[in-house]
């Protein structure tokens, strides 16, 4: 590598993020607990600055830099902007929640930003090594964040489970990567694709590696049969951290899968298509059916996540531009919906009380009809009821697989969504038609009220006017696919 060729402009957002993060890490040492709001403000400013740089350095084509290990393409820029937004919203939502639970410390913010940095690296990786480093950065920050509440037994148990299973999945992923390296002789994603298309790679070893790669990826995404950690971790973690695991990382995992399977192992589409199909069917079935039996709201949403990841895989396995862009749209809108649903849970929780059981929502409408309405919007969107955005997301994915002739799979997906609608509507029934059990007042900070309302209303607005976002997703996918 020649230093004169070193183009750091596409990496500017990451450099700014990590520099600002280090400054916050140091400054926070001199801030007393009472003034922790300064760290909070600085973290939000950092996110705004990073997002501004992201927009400023945007180019409508793929830029490779740092010895082809970093790629800045429209897909990466779009997903990164969504992740900055999601992280900022999580920070706003969890401010009061964390303060009530003795988690409002400097590490809460720095680790959240470290996790974001890791996701940025994953999203912009064009080399197996940087993909893996980004993934580890994200996972390590998340393990620590879950365990931050050390005296809570469920949280430490969740952290331990996530850690052990996460390490196992990383091992599977690395083994798969080493097999692909053995077959193609390179770790660079574009070069792997070229080697496979050139026919010089050993097919058997490639498929062998692919199995391990898909298993590792499915674990990170939380698709059946690698889903067992999701309910326990979602339920055990403090809700603010659950949201950090359940929102932005899903976007990062989607791009991670896209980079490995679509951009790298494009030549093996037939092989991974069937693997993804099996996982998608199982995820939708087990996720939706098990969710019905849950009494814990967070656990129910965890199983709902599993079923939604099944839908995401459906879009990916379509194997064409339409499928990929519908999966991207699905991922973005799913993250938005998750933010709103867990946001309401956090708004209804207070010091010493966790609003995580279905019964806790009983009669919410008579306690506070606005939050009931927001929850109603998110539940309808998750269930896929028009005119909310969840409907268009499901519709786009199903259309993509019908277009490639997998009608049976589409019918199955629709049937599973119908089963899923049952438990989403049960939440609505609790809120509107059941007697109030808990009449304590709901106190929410003003800024959170505003952001949460906008978040839930965005589900409705995007549902009525989805064209713009769909267009952006299609355009981003088109640019990322032309690189091949």
């Amino acid at each position: 590598m020649n230093w004169a060729d070193l183009n750091l402009v596409p990496v500017m957002p990451e450099i700014f993020l990590i520099s600002a993060l280090s400054v916050i890490l140091l400054l926070d040492l001199f801030i007393s607990d009472a003034k922790r709001g300064i760290t909070y403000g600085l973290s939000l400013l950092t996110l705004a600055g990073t997002a501004a740089l992201q927009v400023y350095t945007f180019e409508p084509y793929a830029q490779y830099t740092l010895s082809n290990m970093f790629v800045a393409d429209p897909l990466a820029s779009l997903v990164k902007l969504a992740m900055y937004g999601a992280t900022a919203m999580i920070l706003v939502y969890s401010r009061q929640y964390a303060a009530d639970r003795d988690m409002f410390k400097g590490e809460f913010f720095t680790l959240a930003l470290f996790a974001l940095f890791g996701m940025n690296v994953m999203v912009s990786a064009s080399h197996f090594l940087s993909l893996y480093m980004g993934l580890e950065l994200l996972s390590l920050s998340l393990y620590a964040l879950i365990a931050l509440q050390r005296d809570s037994v469920p949280a430490t148990e969740a952290a331990m489970k996530y850690f052990v299973l996460g390490a196992l999945a990383s091992g599977l992923l690395l083994y798969g990567m080493s097999m692909v390296y053995g077959a193609t002789g390179t770790l660079e994603i574009a070069a792997i694709a070229k080697s496979i298309h050139g026919g010089s790679a050993n097919q058997l070893l490639l498929v062998f590696g692919l199995v391990f790669l898909v298993a590792g990826l499915a674990f990170k995404l939380g698709a059946v049969p690698f889903h067992m950690w999701i309910p326990d971790v979602y339920q055990g973690s403090p809700t603010a951290i659950t949201l950090m695991i359940g929102a932005a990382p899903k976007l990062a995992a989607f791009v991670f899968i896209f980079r490995i399977l679509v951009q790298g192992l494009d030549g093996l589409t037939g092989d991974w298509q069937s693997m993804l199909a099996i996982m998608a069917v199982l995820s939708m079935a087990i996720g939706n059916i098990t969710a019905i039996a849950q009494t814990n709201l967070k656990r129910m949403l965890a199983y709902s996540t599993i079923s939604h990841m099944g839908f995401l895989l459906l879009g990916l396995l379509a194997g064409n531009e339409q499928g990929y862009s519908s999966a991207l749209f699905y991922a973005v809108t799913y993250v938005l919906t998750t933010l709103a649903s867990f946001g309401v849970i956090m708004a209804l929780s207070r010091a010493g009380f966790e609003c995580d059981k279905l019964e806790d929502l009983k009669g919410l409408n008579s306690r506070n009809s606005w939050y009931a309405a927001l929850m109603l919007l998110t539940m309808f969107s998750l269930a896929g009821i028009p005119p909310l955005v969840g409907f268009y997301a499901k519709f786009a994915v199903i259309k993509a697989i019908v277009d490639i002739g997998l009608v049976k799979l589409a019918v199955f997906a629709v049937a599973m969504s119908l089963i899923g609608a049952f438990y989403y509507l049960r939440v609505v029934k609790h809120m509107y038609f059941d007697e109030v059990q808990d009449t304590s007042p709901i106190v929410v900070r003003g800024d959170m009220q505003l952001v949460l309302s906008l978040n839930a209303l965005a589900l409705l607005v995007l549902g009525v006017l989805p064209e713009r976002l769909i267009e952006i997703c299609v355009e981003a996918m088109k640019q990322s696919l032309t690189v091949l």
Binding site: M1, S67, K105, E107, H127, M133, L137, L140
Partner: protein, 214 residues
């Protein structure tokens, strides 16, 4: 079979044995020591690949630093490992079957002629004056700059996480702030009580007055 091949198989056999003992040893100290053995034999593999620097750093860093700390921790913590292992034998048959099937399948695939592992040639021998460290340094600071920097960030996260998870202010601590200790004034510690001089009284009355003073 050439000499390096023999060494490779001997080292591999020891490595697999040590790895198995790490997870089967009853005594955690033994398990940690077997892990040390595993690291040593892997260092031997690095030497066979002519990567002297990696071999020595594996021994220095993992055996010298990490495992010694690990041994300390294992010896310090008084954990009843037998109790932790209670559920082990209940799940062992299923886990063992799944593991064996997986290993069997992997062996079948990798040994099949289609995998043609034999066609992969070993690395070409290096020149006598090839410097491992220089080559490694050159790559780390040029081609692999980005992953190298990322590794630094991962270590930073590890540090922040370790401190965040272990540092806690105990309520019952007897810690004294040296700063407070230095700036203390006589008035903070000593209270002068002015009392009128009294005549020596009977022993009983004296005890009473002492109680009142206290």
């Amino acid at each position: 079979m050439s000499f390096p091949t023999v060494v490779f198989y001997v080292l591999s056999a020891i490595l697999i044995f040590a790895g198995l003992r790490v997870i089967t040893a009853k005594n955690p100290v033994h398990a940690a020591l077997y892990l040390v053995l595993a690291f040593f034999t892997s260092a031997g593999h690095w030497l066979l690949l002519e990567s002297e620097f990696l071999a020595i750093s594996l021994v220095l860093v993992y055996v010298g630093a990490v495992m010694v700390l690990f041994l300390f921790v294992v010896m310090m913590l008084d954990i009843n490992f037998e109790k932790l292992r209670e559920g082990f034998w209940k799940n062992a048959p299923l886990a063992g079957t799944v593991g064996l099937i997986m290993v069997g399948e992997m062996v079948l695939i990798l040994m099949s002629p289609e995998a043609s592992l034999g066609s992969y040639k070993g690395a070409a021998p290096l020149a006598a004056d090839a410097s491992n460290i220089r080559e490694l340094g050159r790559l780390i600071y040029t081609t692999y700059l980005w992953p190298f920097e990322l590794a630094a960030v991962v270590l930073l996260v590890g540090m922040v996480a370790a401190i965040a998870l272990t540092m806690r202010k105990r309520k019952d601590t007897k810690f004294v702030n040296p700063g407070d200790q230095v700036v203390v004034r006589r008035d903070d510690r000593v209270r002068l009580v002015k009392m009128a001089a009294v005549k020596r009284s009977e022993p009983v009355a004296e005890a009473e007055s002492a109680d009142q003073q206290a």
